[in-house]
Symmetry: C2
Subunit: 353 residues, 2 copies
C-alpha cells in the first residue's frame, strides 16, 4: 500500500467509517482524522491522538467512580488505537506500540463493564491464548455461549459491540486472540492448523460452570470465517456463522495490497509468496464433508477481499445445513449493514443454541 497518498472521502465513507461504527467507534472521530491527516502516512498519529483523548476521559470518569462511562471511553480508545495501527505495516515499531496501547486500553475497560469482561488465559499447546469472557447477569442455570474468532489483523477487542449484543440477550461470550492476532503476535504466528485454537477456546468455555457445554456456537469474522468452518468438525460446536469469510484464499491476486501485507505481518513471512505458503491449509477442500451442524454464511455482494462466489461455494457444498445470507449492497463483512447483519447473526445463533 502506498501510504503517501491522500485519504479520499470515498474510501473513508464507503469502508472505514462503516467498519469503525460497526465496531463501536464514532464517525465524528473519522471526520476529525480527515481534517488532521492529509495522507495515510499521517493517519496513525491522528488516530492515536484521539485515542489518547479517550484515555483521558476514561481516567477522569473512572477516578470519579463512573464505571459505565469510563469503560465506554476505554473501549473507544482501544478502537481508535486499532484504527491507528491498521495501515502502519511500513512502520512496524509504531504498529507494535499502537497494538500494545490498544490491548492496554481494553484491559482498563474490561473490569468496569457490566457484566465485566473477565480476562483469562486459554491453555494452547505449550503456551496460552489471551481471552475475554462475559457471562450475562440474572441467569438461571447454565447458558448458551458464543465463541468469537477474529480475522486477519483483527483482535478480540474488535468484538466489543458483538460481545455487548450477545450478553444483552442472555448468552455468554468468549473472544480470544489466536496465532498471529493481537497479543499472541509475534510470539505465536499465523500458520497451519489455526482451527486447533478454536477447539482450545471451546474447551476453556465449556469448563465454565455458567456455560452449557452442549450449547456453544461460533462466529468467525473474515479470515476467521474459514477457520470456524474447519473447526465445525468439532461436534461440540452446535452452530457456526461465517461472517464475511471464504472457502479459501483463491482471491489472493485481487486482494487489496493492505490485506496481503496483513498476511505477511501475521505469518512473519519473508514476503507475499511465503505468507501464502504459510497459510496453505486455509481451505475448506478437505473438511467440508465433516460439517454436519447448521452454518449461516453472511456475505456482502460488494466484498473486495473475499468475493461473493466464495460464500456461495460454501453454501452450495452444504445444501442441507447451510443458509446463505447475501447482502446485495454489503461491503466486506457487511460493515455498511452492520445493524441488520450483526443482530441477525446473534438472533440466528440464539435460535439454534
Amino acid at each position: 500500500m502506498n501510504t503517501n497518498r491522500p485519504i479520499d472521502d470515498d474510501e473513508l465513507l464507503r469502508y472505514w467509517i462503516p467498519r469503525l461504527v460497526a465496531d463501536g467507534g464514532d464517525p465524528n472521530d473519522a471526520l476529525a482524522v480527515r481534517n488532521r491527516a492529509a495522507t495515510w502516512d499521517e493517519w496513525p498519529v491522528a488516530w492515536a491522538e484521539i485515542a489518547e483523548s479517550y484515555l483521558a476521559i476514561g481516567s477522569d470518569r473512572e477516578g470519579r467512580g463512573h464505571a459505565p462511562s469510563a469503560s465506554a471511553a476505554y473501549v473507544r480508545a482501544a478502537i481508535c488505537f486499532h484504527f491507528a495501527q491498521v495501515v502502519a505495516f511500513h512502520l512496524p515499531d509504531l504498529k507494535i506500540d499502537l497494538q500494545a496501547s490498544k490491548t492496554a486500553a481494553f484491559v482498563r475497560a474490561a473490569p468496569l463493564m457490566s457484566p465485566p469482561a473477565e480476562r483469562t488465559s486459554i491453555p494452547f499447546g505449550d503456551t496460552t491464548l489471551p481471552a475475554y469472557i462475559r457471562i450475562p447477569a440474572g441467569r438461571e442455570g447454565p447458558v448458551a455461549g458464543v465463541v468469537l474468532v477474529p480475522g486477519l489483523d483483527s483482535t478480540k477487542e474488535d468484538f466489543a459491540t458483538l460481545m455487548e449484543m450477545i450478553v444483552a440477550r442472555g448468552l455468554a461470550v468468549l473472544a480470544f486472540d489466536g496465532p498471529g492476532q493481537g497479543e499472541a503476535h509475534p510470539d505465536l504466528l499465523l500458520g497451519q492448523n489455526y482451527e486447533a485454537c478454536i477447539s482450545a477456546a471451546v474447551d476453556a468455555f465449556a469448563a465454565r460452570p455458567e456455560v452449557d457445554a452442549n450449547r456453544i456456537g461460533t462466529i468467525g469474522r473474515s479470515l476467521g470465517g474459514i477457520y470456524v468452518v474447519k473447526a465445525a468438525a468439532d461436534r461440540r460446536i452446535r452452530a457456526t456463522v461465517v461472517f464475511g469469510g471464504a472457502w479459501d484464499l483463491g482471491d489472493w491476486p485481487t486482494m487489496p495490497p493492505l490485506i496481503r501485507a496483513g498476511f505477511v505481518w501475521a505469518t512473519g513471512a519473508e514476503g507475499e509468496d511465503d505468507a501464502l505458503a504459510q497459510v496453505a491449509d486455509a481451505t475448506l477442500d478437505d473438511c467440508i464433508a465433516d460439517v454436519a451442524s447448521p452454518v449461516l454464511v453472511v456475505h456482502g455482494r460488494h466484498d473486495a477481499i473475499f468475493k461473493a462466489a466464495q460464500a456461495e461455494r460454501i453454501a452450495a457444498a452444504l445444501p442441507n445445513n447451510a443458509t446463505l445470507w447475501m447482502v446485495e449492497d454489503g461491503v466486506h463483512c457487511c460493515h455498511n449493514r452492520a445493524f441488520e447483519v450483526r443482530t441477525g447473526m446473534v438472533d440466528w445463533l440464539a435460535e439454534r443454541l
Copy 2:
C-alpha cells in the same frame, strides 16, 4: 428554508450525521439518503423508506421472539421518521404523517426494551401529556431520577440514547412531550408558561414508588434548556443541565430559517413575528434569581442556533451554583462531541442526585 437545493456533504457531515448518530441513528443511513435524495425536497421520502425497512426488520425479529433486536430496529425506525419530517414544514400533511409514524414505531419498541419503557400519561391542566418512564432493574430501594425535556421540533423519542445511558447506571428516567412537541402537537401548542409541564412531569415521576422524590434532576435540550432553568424554581428539582440551551431568544434574527419555521409550527402562529410573540416568556430575565440548585451549562462554541454568549450569560448570572462547560469545537448541543458530553452530563447528575 429553500428545500429545492442540493443536499451538500458539508452540511450533512458537520451537523446532520453527528446529530443522527448522537440520537442513536446510523451514519450508513445518512449516506444512503445522500445517494437517493438529490435535494432536500427528496429527503423526507428517502428517510421514510429507510424507516420502513427498519419496521420490517423489527416485525421479523419480534415475530421470532428476539426482543433486543426488535426494539432496537423499532427505535431506528423512529429516528429515521424523525429525520424524514425534520425539514418538511412546507409539506404539513406529510410532516404530520411522518411524526405519527415516528410515534408508532417507538410505541412498538417500548415494551420490548430491557428495562421496558412504560408509556404513561402525565396529568396537565385539563389534559394529559404522553411520556415514557424507564425504571432500572436490580435496584435496592427508591432511585434517583432524571426528567428529559425536549427542544423545538424534538420529542421524547429522540432521547432514546440518553434514556439508555441513564438507566444503565441505575437511575430512573422520564421523557415526555410538552406543548408543541410530538404527540402533544397540535392539540396543545407551544406558548407561555411551558415550565408548568416540567413540574407536572416531576409530580408524576415523584409519585412512583421506585423513584426517590428528593433526588430528581432535569436535562433540557436546546429550547428545553431555557425551560428547565425556569422550572428550577421548583425546589424539588435538585440539579439542572442546560444542554445546548439559552438565556432567551435574542438570537432570533440569526437563527437558521429551519428553526424559525419550527417555532411557527410549534406555536401554530400566523408567521414568524407572531410565533416569537407566543414565546415571549422564553427568557431567564425574571427567574434566574430564584435558581439555588446546581446548574450545568453545556454548550458548543460553534452553536449556530443559540450563540455561545447565551450560555456564558447563564453561568455568569449564577456564579455560586452554575458550571459552564463550553466545548470549543462543539456544534449545537455538541452533537459532534456527543459521547463525552452526554456521558458527562449523566455523570454530573449522578454525582448530585
